[in-house]
Symmetry: C2
Subunit: 361 residues, 2 copies
DNA sequence: TTGTAGGCGTTATCAA
DNA sequence: TTGATAACGCCTACAA
């Protein structure tokens, strides 16, 4: 391994000078800096991240922790975030939380909070408060945070507006009995559920129904215990077999993966989409465009989401340069300074309704 | 941050004793070790990875570098590998190489080769020789390595056998004019292409054609410059519009993503699958099961692939414990010892032909 | 069985 | 403008 000492020797300067020069410190004379850069290049020198991180607490790495890397939406999202991180000159590393709380904690303790200058986290089981403890004061941006009073910055998908648009679209094309696949009717009674992704999406649906003057009952909701392909496919059978849903002519599935599996279930029974039942999904994964029939969906602009998330994160990361990072007692009083407000920001990713064959009548 | 000194103080022992105790060194008395473990637990102590890595060269992290994290096959593969790594008690981190050579080099230089005890790499642009230099002596297992004379252990998909099975299946169900979508007819003339994934899959097709006594010409191959959804969809138009392929009644697409996009292209033109044209894919991604019609495919057993890859990798990682790691001059002479042969191993992942609607006649 | 001490490669504080 | 020097937190001979 070639270390900084080797470069220093080759360039005829001290290690300290090499360190300054390679990081662009203006105190080093241009000629010296150039000489050092050339020596480093020739020796294929690369700064040791462990040593740098140990000494300075900064690694240049941004972590992304996401649930289930083998599902279309999370994987497209982490890819987009990953690319945006690289674009800003940081090294992205992705980790899969796989749903278990222990897993999430392990990831945060073992690598993310230690190695990373900041992290993008899609919370599953861990609460905001627990996250605060696990973050060790490192900046973190949450994706679709469900906490009623947030601790961290977050970027959300347009759950309410998007879902409302989906339901409005079904109404617009003439659907009389619309069924929302995912939530149960009494879900909103639970405060914690109400602020979750499914709760917010359901709220959007209810708003749309109300705006259109549609009466709502439990017949408008088909609950799903797990948002997985198999139960989603079977949900189609349940819909077709139950008297409650027999005249359903429009379905809004809370994710594209649910929608595509549900559509497969309808195909199993020979039900035609959109002729017999029109269908709308949510997410806008690539798959939705290539399905037969292609799926109308609420597409989340993942590039926009990534940009907003990384903007928020890097603001905090760079603000941390001066402070200790672990002691947020900086200046709670100076609320006049708007640059980095202490209160967590909450942004929403851009989205659009993409009309495709599944609602073309 | 709570360090080893804090634990030592709390337990009333020295730092060294803490280090030994927490890593299960038998020299420490059971009672002492237990006391130390409890103190560590109470303080929420976590060993600093940077410090450990700097001092011992080991981090407990295994890296996975894969091309395009937002495609179904690579994402399912990295998820499977990631889970297997976690199962063995290591921390997996995933990075996306995004195809560019600079990107791959950057990833290897900046984080993988520095931070990781070993890595799983799906090579794109970088040659085996370059990899050797970039690996800094760290163990590495390649996935679908295309090098004719390999430098590293690798696990491959069953390109030849799988493709042969796909073509045989199409012949079995009665297809008379089979078209393979992906490669061009003259591809095998190029030595480098011949050992690539597409080359090996094509070789399998040719073998099947030969075994079945089918004459082969360029009319049996529909080349694809990029294996992306859009060109794949358009390839279907090309097939339908060209006199060369007009009577095609069976298609083998070299990946599921190609197959699903191609199928979508056929649907655009109102061609029925399997009635007019039967279709087989390769990979066995989740999506293939939920497509309408569901896709017959050569499914690679990703759990088996992950298990084999990590077995190979951890063998080398643990073998490195004694040696310097960067100096592989250990014992090239003792070829009698079969435990860790110096010559790279090449394994093949288990696979199966999954028959579904797209070939059901 | 446990403690002492030195160093991994870098950065930051001083002094020159 | 540059150089010496002391940490950062951990591991590991070696000494006790």
């Amino acid at each position: 391994m070639v270390t900084m000492s080797d470069v220093a020797k080759a360039a005829g300067v001290s290690r300290a000078t090499v360190s300054y020069a390679l990081r662009g410190d203006p105190r080093i004379a241009a000629a010296t800096a150039e000489k050092i850069r050339q020596a480093a290049q020739k020796l294929h020198y690369n700064a040791n991240i462990s040593a740098r991180s140990l000494r300075s607490g900064r690694s240049g790495i941004i972590g992304v922790a996401i649930y289930e890397l083998d599902r279309p939406y999370p994987s497209e999202m982490s890819a987009a975030v990953s690319r945006e991180i690289a674009r800003r000159g940081y090294q992205p590393i992705v980790q899969q939380t796989s749903g278990s709380k222990d897993d999430e904690i392990m990831i945060l303790q073992k690598v993310t909070s230690q190695l990373c200058d900041g992290m993008i986290f899609s919370p599953g089981q861990v609460s905001d408060e627990e996250l605060r403890a696990l973050s060790h004061g490192k900046p973190m941006v949450l994706l679709d945070d469900i906490s009623p009073d947030p601790v961290f910055d977050s970027v959300n998908t347009a759950c309410e507006d998007g879902s409302a648009a989906a339901v409005h679209h079904l109404i617009d094309i003439g659907c009389k009995h619309i069924v929302v696949v995912g939530p149960s009717y009494d879900m909103l009674l639970d405060d914690k559920m109400a602020s979750s992704v499914v709760g917010r999406r359901m709220t959007g649906c209810l708003r749309a129904f109300e705006e259109a003057g549609v009466d709502v009952s439990s017949r408008n909701f088909l609950p799903l215990r797990h948002w997985d392909p198999i139960p989603s496919r079977e949900a189609a059978y349940r819909l077709l077999d139950s008297d409650d849903y027999r005249d359903a002519d429009g379905v809004f599935c809370l994710t594209d993966t649910i929608a595509i599996s549900f559509m497969r279930g309808l195909a199993d029974r020979g039900v035609r989409v959109p002729d017999d039942i029109a269908l709308v999904g949510f997410d806008g994964v690539t798959e939705s465009e290539y399905a037969v029939p292609s799926l109308t969906t609420i597409r989340t602009d993942l590039d926009d989401l990534a940009r907003k998330a990384i903007d928020l994160l890097l603001d905090r990361v760079n603000a941390n340069v001066g402070g200790t990072g672990s002691d947020p007692s900086a200046d709670t009083a100076s609320d006049g300074d708007l640059a980095f407000p202490d209160s967590p920001q909450r942004l929403t990713a851009a989205w659009e309704l993409v009309e495709r064959e599944s609602t073309r009548r």
